[in-house]
């Protein structure tokens, strides 16, 4: 989260005029800033170690990363603090409460997806509503080859005899990371080629259709050849092999002693997947950051702003758009492979339109085209999804068990319909977030510099109106 801006602003941060920076940045300036942040992290870690299940503390820990991002200090310091938080504090608290590792894994997974989508939507300006299809391609690739599905190609779901032998060894996971990237990039090109001529809203609808096509295929390719096992999904999927000393030897024993909790194979795999996802996320951040300022990235910006002008300046439209689709897809393809191995189960339900939109919400909430923003958006939406709403659901159901009354309307909690489960209302939250962001802050929480200028053109009294036609309409329409 903190790496990219650190790189771009760190070198001149000491001399930078802070007057137009945000409040947090100004507060954290000077030598007291790092001390405060370190103290904050220490206190939160200590409290979280005492109370591993506290939702608020989990939030505060992740908010610590945001504080680090906002610090106006040298990049190495920010990187060090962020690194310590991600590599040491979160796993250490994860020893007490493995759910934190799960959140970390999912945040990293979805941040990677959001960064990939950000390349397509934020950099190149191509609205893709079926993005999760590429995630599905990666996940199903490893699901099909990393499970026993290949033995069952000619039997209908649920009828095949189960063997103990897998067609491919578990170590094939690593090559399949590469294959996942390739396959997803291929799917990106496949989608990109026919829709190159479309722009804006048409493209959105076609990609949405593509996402649905992938889901319907996953649901129905159990005949004539049973490739995806239909709606039941594929399980078990192999996890990559870990050396024995990690899984059973002295390390888990020592960790068990430290944490006072039995650390088994599953926990060690949770650690492994957490670190794997974080490594892939860091790689993605670095890669996307380099891309943004590369020749290709500038071409994307050019076609986003005005493709006719871009072509006139010699940007190859076809190739540039296709690379955006391919690279954006590639990130999520590899994450799909990791996700399938982590869950050891894939089914078409994971790859619904809601999922695609939730990735879009992450990008938009954080800020289109802004790498730190997108990561922040992913963290917020993911925690909202798997942590806040779930916790609310649990609270509600425990209230329902009791005999209390709902305040104000005086109906017993127990009579509240079970359908009113906050975890089921993701769409309500996402929808509201999208509308509110679009109306009040279309540039996102941490806007990219360029987009901020674009969307607030009219704040500058000297700038010409963005759209003179629109100005006229708003001034003539009276109601």
């Amino acid at each position: 989260m903190s790496e990219q801006p650190g790189k771009s602003s760190g070198s001149k941060s000491t001399k930078r005029d802070l007057s137009d920076e945000g409040l947090i940045t100004r507060l954290l300036a000077g030598p007291l800033g790092p001390i405060f942040v370190i103290g904050y992290l220490a206190v939160v870690t200590f409290l979280l170690y005492r109370e591993p299940r506290a939702l608020l503390l989990r939030f505060l820990l992740f908010a610590g990363l945001l504080l680090i991002y906002y610090m106006p200090h040298k990049a190495w310091l920010k990187l060090l603090l962020a690194g310590v938080t991600v590599v040491a504090i979160i796993p250490a608290v994860g020893l007490k409460n493995p759910f934190l590792l799960e959140i970390g894994f999912q945040v990293a997974t979805f941040a990677t997806l959001a960064l990939g989508l950000n390349i397509v939507v934020g950099f190149a300006g191509l609205l893709d509503l079926g993005y999760v299809a590429f995630f599905a391609v990666g996940a199903y690739l490893w699901a099909i080859f990393g499970s026993q599905q290949l033995w069952q190609l000619h039997s209908s779901p649920g009828t095949a005899t189960v063997y103990n032998v897998f067609p491919l060894g578990a170590w094939w996971f690593w090559p399949f990371l590469i294959f996942g990237i390739t396959a997803a990039a291929g799917a990106g090109m496949l989608l990109g080629t026919p829709v190159l001529r479309l722009r804006g809203d048409y493209l959105a609808i076609v990609t949405l259709g593509f996402g649905e096509v992938i889901r319907v295929l996953a649901n129905n390719l159990d005949k004539p050849i049973n490739l995806t096992n239909g709606p039941q999904g594929i399980t078990p999927i192999q996890r990559p092999p870990l050396p024995d000393f990690i899984l059973h030897g002295a390390l888990p024993n020592w960790l068990s002693q430290v944490s006072g909790r039995t650390i088994g194979e599953g926990d060690m795999y949770a650690f492994f997947f957490y670190f794997l996802a974080v490594v892939w996320l860091v790689f993605t951040i670095a890669f996307a950051g380099r891309l943004e300022n590369s020749r290709l990235g500038r071409s994307w910006t050019a076609i986003r702003e005005d493709d006719v002008a871009a072509v006139a300046m010699g940007v190859p439209l076809r190739r540039t758009k296709l690379t955006a689709f391919a690279i954006g897809a590639a990130f999520s393809g590899a994450m799909g492979v990791i996700y399938a191995a982590n869950r050891t189960f894939v089914s078409p339900e994971t790859f619904s339109l809601t999922q695609s939109i939730s990735v879009l919400v992450m990008v938009i909430l954080g800020g289109l085209g802004s790498i730190p923003g997108v990561v922040l958006g992913a963290a917020i939406v993911t925690m909202l999804n798997i942590d806040v709403l779930q916790t609310l659901s649990l609270q509600l159901s425990s209230l329902r068990q009791g005999t209390g009354m709902i305040p104000l309307i005086g109906v017993p909690w127990a009579e509240l319909p079970t359908q009113l489960d906050p975890a089921r209302y993701q769409r309500l939250v996402f929808g509201l977030l999208l509308i509110i962001m679009m109306i009040f802050r279309p540039e996102g929480i941490i806007p990219s510099r360029r987009r901020k200028l674009e969307l607030h053109e009219d704040d500058d009294p000297l700038a010409p109106p963005a759209d003179s036609e629109n100005v006229l309409i708003t001034s003539t329409g009276g109601d």
Binding site: G125, L127, D201, V206, P417, R427, G431, I439
Partner: protein
Amino acid sequence: MTNPIDAGGAAAVSTMPASAPLRVRRTNPIKEILRPLGQLLIFVLGSSIVMALITVALALILRPTRDDMDMLQITLILLPQVLIDGLVLGFMYATIALGYTMVYGVLEFINFAHGEIFMFGAFAGVELLLWIERTNGLDVGNLAAYGLIIVAIIVGMVISGLLAITTERLAYRPLRGAPRLIPLISAIGVSFFLQDMMRFMQSAINGDFYRTFPDFGPFGKRITLFSMPLDDRTIDIAIQVKSLIIIIVAIIMLVGLNYLVNATRLGKAIRSVAQDQRTSSLMGINVNRIIALTFLIGGALGGAAGVLFAFKFTRADPYMGFLPGLKAFTAAVLGGIGNITGAMLGGIVLGLLESFAAAYLSIFTNGAMGAEYKDILAFAILILILVFRPSGLLGSKTTQKA
């Protein structure tokens, strides 16, 4: 503006010059009613015949691939029923597609939430009938039952129309003039929000999120149109009263809209705003009001389609709007978005295609592809149309603008 809501009429569509609105055109009300009727008839007959011929030809070609049944015979047995089902579906799609097309014609904006406006209409109609049922009001004669259906449709139209105006006012109008993706994203948000809003309301009030259309009146009865002798047996071709009502109501809607847009002062204002907002406002047209009215009309049509949809499939649930909405959008694009006649044609063609796919895919592919693939078909058509003829079947100009 490149994209006027067209004056209707296939001939006028392709030849209408940019200066057309300047010509004073006398409209004959009778003609404005008869012309869309004629067009609809041509569309229905034309696409039915084309689809039937293609299917029979496919059956003849694929006949040798299956020896367990006579493919041609089965195809012929199913054909009339498939045609009727397809037309019913097609008329519903056409009615929904008009909502997309009207809004697109005026604002060049895909109202992504139109499917949810359709869903709200369906719930409004169903809730009204359920309420009447609770007061034992559904135990009525045939005539009154027809009346109740009409009332339900009108209530659905009112609710959906108001909802459409509200969403326009709250979620789209503040964004007018922003970069193009921004209102679209807001519309996606509205769509998601409305889905779960309805789910929330239904769950809070009823404890469950879907509602069943009450069973009353003579609507399940089947009218035998004709009997078809085939080899040694006869097959009755029948249509449900329900389906007949759906077709008739949809035709009334389509003709009414055509009349409204082509023969009234309001319609002229709508066409003018679609042509050029700035000039219209200089001519004394209140552009904001016309845009709101466009949403109202489109939403009302969607609401009527929603009640009909719930009527046909006897169920209303919060997510029912998504697929029909997407398909109706496909229909609008297929016919040429922004073009009212095109939306009707597109709807009918798409309904027929879907019904044919659902019935025949499994037969023709020997069970390898089931009826589930009919949804893919709609998207495949959408992609093909957008790639090869983005202006649609009846459109004359490219409608895309950055």
